[in-house]
Structures are given as C-alpha cells and as structure tokens.
C-alpha cells in the first residue's frame, strides 16, 4: 500500500513540479534575456515581477479560444496536447535522485527517443490542420528538421549506452559515480546538446516557429490555452533536455557534499540557463544549412564517436 502511495506521490510530485517549473521558466527566460540585452524585463507585477506568470496565465485563460473556420477541427484541437503528453511521458524515465523518479524502464533511453519523435507529430499536425500557409511551412520545416537531427541524436547517446552497458537511465547514472561521461563522451555531449536545441525547437534551431519569417510558424493560428500548451510544451522540452544532458553526461545526481536532488536541480538549472544564453546570442540558420550540418557533419561525427567508443571499450574489456 505504502509503495503505491509513494509512487503516486512521485508521479504527481514530478508532474506538478515540472509544470510549475515550465511556467516559471516563461518568466525566468524573459528576465535572463533582458539581463543579457542590458534591460530589466518584466519587473512590475509583484516582487521582482514574479507574479508575471500569474498575470500571463490569467491573460491566456481569458483569451478567446478560436479555431480558424477552414481548419481541420479535431486535429487542430488534439495537436497541442500531443506535444505536452509526449514530453511529460518522457519525464517518467528521468531519475531525479535515489528513490525519486517515476519509472526505471530497462529501455528508458529508447523510450525517450521514441517520445521525442512522437512530439514532432504535434508540430506537423498543428501546422497542417491550421489551414494557413505559414503554419504549413512551419510544420514542413518541423518534419525536415526532425529527419536531420533525430538520427544523430540517437547515435550520440549510444556512446553513453556502450560505456554504461545499459539503456536504463538509473544504471547510466549509477555507472557515472566515478567519472562523468562528459569527459570520455565529450563529442557525444556536443552533438547531443546541438540535437537537443533542435529537439526543443529553440533558437538557433527554431525553424518551425521562425517568428521573423513565418509569423509564428506552426502555431500561428493558435490562441488562448491551445497556444499556451505549445508554449509550455516548449519550456517542458527545455527542462527535459537539460535534465537528460545532466543524466547522460554530467552524472545525474552524483556530486560531493550536497544532497543528490540539489545536485541534480543545480546542474539542470545550469543547462536551462545555457539554453537561454544560446537563444540570446545565436542567429537562426536557413533550414537547408541545418540539414547540411546534420547530415554532413554531425551524423558522420556521431558515427565516428560511436565506433571509437566501441573500439576502446572492446580493447579495455580484453
């Protein structure tokens, strides 16, 4: 009985924490971007502008929830939920600290890759069902981008799997007790970070959204809470990718002195900040440039990394 209660506590605790964090990030990102652009950002509502999140939420909830007349209504309504659901499901496999975590799947890493591929459906379907040229172009780009990064994202993680000898994220974290994989897998780390940027559709790889060219890309036609779901989905994605970078390459909860959960959160927040910093500094490439980078540079690099890791692991195992 108590184990059921504990796992329920885990499930809802992580769910609420992650969604609250994503909502808070909308504010944190604006403050950080402002900091790096020598501005203040939203600092009027509440202390330090902290209640801006609440104000935004009230605004989004009271907005008209509009569906364009020629849109494919059921798909249009379902598309944003797909994004949220796939990302929230991915959080199930993240081991936050010993004993904190929803599920320890023995195919955890593959589960994450599967869910991240599913998430793209949300963008493509949202872009398609809006019946707007900009949305369609955004969805098209989302599909093109997905083809170019999913492959090397999977390959970049296989080095970690080789070293840890397991697909389970818990095992991967435990295997990093001595040495974090950011040292032997530095190439894998770099490739995964780039793939993560593309996965979360963040600048510099926000091609499906591309405010400068496509109005707002795949979610041009969305408003109210449906838009908010895409928006929160983006931030959930950032948290997920940051948490996974920490899990795969920076030893998860491992670290001296502080309790494990503090280490995990500390590292995760560091990478979330990194994501925002990258957004603040880099411009968006053309989408053929992204695909060229993916297929001609990062894909071979990920393969070479995998082969080298495999060879060295094999040689050391003898």
């Amino acid at each position: 009985m108590s184990s059921v209660l504990l796992s329920l506590l885990n499930v809802f605790g992580i769910l609420i924490a992650v969604i609250a964090l994503a909502a808070g990030l909308t504010f944190a990102e604006r403050r950080l971007l402002a900091l790096w652009q020598d501005r203040y950002g939203p600092n009027r509502v509440g202390p330090f502008g902290l209640l801006q999140v609440v104000a935004d939420m009230i605004k989004l909830l009271t907005k008209e929830d509009w569906v364009p007349p020629l849109a494919d209504r059921p798909v249009f309504v379902v598309a944003p939920t797909v994004l949220i659901v796939t990302i929230l499901l991915s959080f199930a496999i993240v081991p936050v600290a010993p004993g904190i975590g929803v599920a320890d799947l023995n195919v955890g890493l593959l589960f994450f890759l599967a869910m991240s591929s599913m998430g793209v459906y949300s963008l493509v379907l949202g872009g398609w069902s809006s019946n707007s040229k900009y949305s369609l172009l955004g969805g098209l780009r989302a599909a093109a981008q997905m083809f170019s990064y999913e492959v090397f994202m999977g390959l970049s993680l296989l080095g970690v799997v080789l070293l840890a000898g397991s697909f389970s994220l818990l095992d991967i974290v435990v295997a990093q007790t001595g040495l974090w994989y950011c040292v032997p897998q530095v190439i894998g780390l770099a490739i995964f970070v780039i793939a993560g940027l593309a996965e979360t559709h963040r600048l510099p790889f926000d091609l499906p959204e591309a405010d400068g060219e496509l109005v707002a890309g795949y979610h041009s036609e969305y408003s109210g809470m449906k838009f908010a779901m895409f928006y929160v989905g983006e931030y959930l994605g950032i948290i997920l990718i940051s948490a996974l970078i920490v899990t795969f390459f920076f030893g998860g909860w491992n670290g001296p002195f502080l309790p494990p959960i503090v280490w995990f959160l500390l590292k995760t927040f560091l990478f979330i900040g990194g994501f925002i910093l990258v957004r603040a500094s880099l411009p968006r490439p053309r989408y053929d440039q992204l695909m060229a980078l993916g297929w001609k540079v990062l894909f071979p690099l990920a393969l070479l990394n995998l082969i080298a890791t495999g060879g060295i692991t094999l040689a050391l195992a003898r």
Binding site: Q37, R39, L277, V278, A280, S281, L282
Partner: protein, 171 residues
C-alpha cells in the same frame, strides 16, 4: 562553430553590464530646458496676457491644431477671445513658439498629459494660461512694440525709438 562560441561568450559578459533601461515612472528621465512638451500661454510681468491674437501660431502649425479668435479690449489691445489647442493632434514641433512675436506661446518640459478620453486633450485658454512669464521673465511686448495702445503712444515705451516719419526719408 568557434565564432558561435565566441558570440555566446560575448553575450555572457553582458551579465555584468549596467542596464540601460530608465525605469520611467519611478525614475524620471533628464529633460533638457529646451525640451518641447506641453504648450502654455504666458503672461507679461504686469500679469496681463501676452497673446495679441495675431494668428501666426495657428498659421505656422503644421497639423492645424491651434484655433483662436481675436478681439480687442477698450484700450485697443488685441487678445484672443478663445484660444484652443487640440493636443491629440499637436506634434510638439515648436513652430508656434518660433512664430510667436510676443513670446506668449511657449513649450514646457512636461510631457505627462495623457488622458483617458480624447475630448479631454482639447485645452481651452483657461487651461493654457499660466500665471507667470515662462522663459522670458522681463519681456513685455507693449513696452517695446511700435504700437499705440491705451495710455501709451508710439515711441513712448522703454527701448523704443520715436516713430520715423517715412515721408521725411524721401530723397
């Protein structure tokens, strides 16, 4: 790739830069003395209206936001019967101030006159008139002008030469 990392580093250095935002309502910006803001009508040192209702400001106004009607008092002094500035049109260009021969119309360093209703932006003479002299404390048009008004003939004012008899200048 390296240049991308370089630009990330450059942006990160901005963490410790001073922020350029002036947080306006809490922190007022510096307004130079010649700032062109809300328009006022000033009075001469004696406390009388400076405006002589010559219409030059209304003519100079590029957006036609000044409306007035001239009239005369019992001494033959011209003054505006009404003087109306529509600030919802006014672009604060300052041409009225430049055109004014009596320093009556002046722009002040005040820009905080927002209203919730458009009609409230139409200022009448009593809204525009101030009790002071504005930027020119000692100037009194009727003391220097070559114009006869009640109690003063032409050429009798301070700094005023007696009028020239133009017919005596003939060759």
């Amino acid at each position: 790739m390296l240049s991308a990392l370089g630009s990330v580093w450059e942006v990160l250095k901005h963490t410790f830069r001073r922020r350029v935002t002036v947080q306006y309502p809490d922190e007022k910006p510096y307004l130079p003395p010649r700032f062109r803001g809300r328009i006022i009508l000033s009075r001469d040192p004696d406390g009388a209206e400076r405006c002589v209702a010559c219409y030059l400001c209304a003519v100079a106004c590029p957006v036609d936001c000044i409306a007035l009607q001239a009239t005369e008092d019992e001494h033959g002094r011209r003054y505006p019967e009404f003087f109306r500035i529509n600030f919802s049109r006014c672009i604060l260009c300052g041409w009225c101030e430049e055109a004014c021969p009596t320093y009556a119309i002046q722009l002040t360093p005040d820009f905080e006159f927002g209203e919730y209703e458009r009609q409230n932006l139409v200022y009448e003479k009593e809204d525009l008139l101030i009790s002071g002299t504005g930027k020119y404390p000692d100037y009194n048009f009727y003391r220097v002008a070559g114009l006869a008004v009640g109690g003063k003939d032409k050429g009798e004012a301070e700094n005023e030469e007696p009028p020239v008899d133009v017919r005596s200048l003939m060759p």
